[in-house]
């Protein structure tokens, strides 16, 4: 679909300015594209390639390695059920099966109304709260099948405004004011920071 819009281009330049080398901003920029469109569009990848001065193939190469980047539209809500060991022991697989039946889709599938995509995922760092899942990467803990049904009902009726649409990660961004920056160090930029030299006792 689309290239980054003007507001996001401004954000992209700010993000790039945080790194000694532009290419380091690639993953954050792919997230930005996914936040804009809900998935990573081909045009967006080309745009990102221009911004960080690499080839579109390199952007695709990075993008395709990471599971969170979706190259096609997915549901508004992505439900990721953990079935890794701690969750399996506490009923994670049964929860996934229930989700499959309730939503009528298999992992990787999206409901016809475009509301839900289901995934069978690895450990999401909530193992003591098993079985658990994430909706657009927001955790839900210790779910029974009834809890799952209630969650789906709430999502359908728009009661979970705390969960942003797929693609939005953190709703807060880091901003470094120009006058507060220490200044980035390009790898070719040799020499110790002045404060380090002056504070270190003379070498013996």
């Amino acid at each position: 679909m689309s290239r980054l819009n003007p507001a996001n281009v401004t954000l992209a330049h700010e993000i790039i300015s945080h790194y000694p080398k532009k290419k380091s901003a690639l993953i954050p920029l792919l997230h930005l594209a996914q936040e804009q469109d809900g998935y990573v569009a081909d045009d967006a990848m080309e745009h990102i390639a221009e911004l960080v001065e690499v080839t579109p193939a390199e952007v695709l190469g990075t993008c395709s390695f990471y599971e969170m980047f979706k190259r096609h539209p997915v549901g508004t809500y992505m439900i990721n059920v953990c079935t890794n060991i701690a969750c399996q022991l506490m009923g994670g697989e049964e929860l996934l099966h229930h989700a499959e039946e309730t939503l009528g889709i298999r992992p990787g599938g999206t409901t016809d109304d475009g509301l839900f995509t289901l995934e069978d995922v690895e450990c999401i760092a909530a193992c003591t709260e098993a079985p658990c899942l994430q909706v657009n990467y927001r955790h839900e803990y210790r779910l029974s099948t009834d809890d799952f049904d209630a969650l789906v009902a709430d999502l359908r009726s728009g009661k979970r405004s705390d969960i942003p649409a797929h693609g939005t990660l953190g709703t807060v961004r880091q901003h470094i004011p120009a006058d507060r920056r220490a200044g980035i160090r390009h790898p070719d930029d040799e020499g110790t920071p002045a404060w380090f030299a002056s504070r270190q006792p003379a070498e013996s």
Binding site: P20, I27, Y66, M68, N84, C127, T128, R138, I176, P193
Partner: protein
């Protein structure tokens, strides 16, 4: 600091405020523990202030004296690792917040509940290392951690704790929040660096063994785990001597341990290292309170999905890297998964192996092919299509995914020798070899369960097509 309730803390899901000294979780009982106000009201940034009053070398020495062991998995002393940095600039600090080892749940809590403590720890490390740029790499699937850290960094920059002229001194250090996008292997430190350079997150060929020599942009780079760095503010305020009052001589201080699975009270506990045994952790009321329904313990994973399994024989081992290592496994990332008598050993083994098969980055053939082959064989045994030779086949595949000289499971107590891996290294990183840990553990201990499933198998006719793809 806080008076312990021994209860779950509702706003820190899973965290139990048990009795015992608290180094990194002391603010968790406060609902607003992630705010600048709460941090400052409870001694926040005092550690940085103390550090800035010393020379960088003195701060590094204090960390070395305290023997702060890495909390990311390998348990390497931070002070020693820092010493590996050659005198080359610029150099970088990369914080490993990619937590995704099965069973591990602690770094996310530290990032969500006390981001200022982590930021302060990063600043102390940067100061000691004489570097002015730090990247905080947070796992992509943790947006709450991102929000909390982004807010904390914005506040800390505004208040002068990070950035230019820290606390009105000449010291200037930037911390940049970076985020991942879903790949377990990126937790491996050289893959983390590749990812931070904007590349596919695949580990680099070693040597050099430590990124301290050549890391980010091939400059000297220290990679430390979130929990490791979160220890530093306390250490700077209280000193190495006080730090060593906690824990054992070889492993001072505390660790955050996540106990999941079949215990009565699963949760995240901050525990003194080397003082408490697995038995106490699983059965004491101060901790997990016993196995669910008072069932028998069948086995447990002492340190994340990569760790060889333990059994009741190892319950009295004190929990610290050294003793757990000597007993044939590792405390790894502080992830304990408890399985009771109702657990199917083959099924549990398959699930852990499947994780490695899915997460293999594909760079080395033995890992890429071997892990999914192991998965296929285990799956057919579980599905009732196992073949008599499958057990040996599993062990053989495993022995070809070799970590070289890495330590492997020895069940010395039971008169069994160390697993006879060939002495050559066939993979670039330990992910592939990790898939062998659950297999050797399960087969050695529960061979009869594998055999029973194979004996009951309907033969070839029902053989699913997928399982035949493995070859032999």
């Amino acid at each position: 600091m806080s008076t312990h309730t021994n209860d779950y803390v509702p706003h820190a899901p899973g965290y139990v405020d048990n009795e015992g000294p608290k180094v990194v979780t002391s603010r968790f009982p406060y609902e607003d523990s992630f705010t600048m106000e709460r941090s400052l009201a409870t001694g926040g940034y005092e550690g940085l202030k103390a550090a800035l009053a010393k020379s960088p070398a003195e701060v590094a020495q204090e960390v070395k004296d305290a023997v702060v062991l890495g909390r990311g998995g390998a348990g390497f002393p931070a002070g020693i690792k820092w010493g590996f940095m050659p005198n080359i600039w610029p150099r970088y600090l990369v914080v490993n917040g990619d937590e995704s080892e099965p069973g591990t749940y602690k770094d996310r809590l530290l990032m969500e509940r006390d981001p200022h403590q982590l930021i302060e720890g990063c600043m102390i490390a940067c100061y000691a290392l004489g570097l002015n740029q730090c990247f905080l790499y947070v796992r992509g699937e943790m947006p709450l951690a991102h929000e909390r850290i982004a807010t904390a960094l914005n506040d800390a920059y505004a208040a002068g704790y990070v950035g230019k002229n820290v606390m009105d001194t000449d010291v200037s250090i930037d911390i940049v929040l970076h985020w991942g996008a879903g790949a377990y292997i990126v937790g491996e430190e050289t893959a983390l660096i590749e990812s931070l350079e904007g590349n596919r997150g695949q580990p680099r060929l070693k040597p050099p063994y430590f990124p301290a020599a050549k890391g980010l942009y091939y400059q000297p780079t220290i990679v430390n785990n979130v929990e490791t760095l979160a220890n530093l503010p306390w250490l700077m305020v209280n000193g190495a001597e006080a730090y060593k009052q906690m824990g054992s001589e070889a492993s001072p201080g505390t660790r955050m341990l996540a106990v999941s699975g079949h215990v009565k009270r699963p949760g995240v506990y901050e525990v003194e290292q080397g003082v408490v045994s697995f038995r106490e952790l699983f059965y004491d009321d101060n901790f997990c309170g016993g196995i669910r329904d008072d069932n028998e313990l069948k086995m447990f994973i002492p340190g994340g999905g990569s760790a060889p399994w333990f059994f009741e024989d190892q319950l009295d081992v004190p929990m610290e890297g050294r003793t757990v290592g000597a007993a044939g496994s590792m405390l790894g990332s502080g992830a304990l998964v408890v399985m009771d008598e109702t657990t199917d050993a083959v099924k549990a083994c398959l699930r852990v192996v499947r994780f490695f098969a899915r997460e293999s980055c594909g760079k080395c053939t033995p890992c890429r092919e071997g892990t999914s082959w192991e998965e296929k064989v285990l799956q057919r045994i579980l599905d009732g299509h196992g073949r008599p030779e499958d057990i040996d086949l599993l062990l053989e595949i495993g022995s070809n995914i070799s970590p070289g000289t890495y330590p492997v499971a020895a069940f010395g107590d039971e008169g069994l020798e160390a697993v006879p891996f060939p002495p050559k290294q066939t993979t670039i990183c330990p992910l592939g070899p990790s898939s062998v840990a659950p297999i050797t553990s399960a087969i050695r201990r529960f061979r009869d369960e594998f055999e029973a499933k194979i004996d009951a198998s309907s033969d070839d006719a029902a053989e699913p097509v997928g399982a035949a793809a493995g070859g032999h």
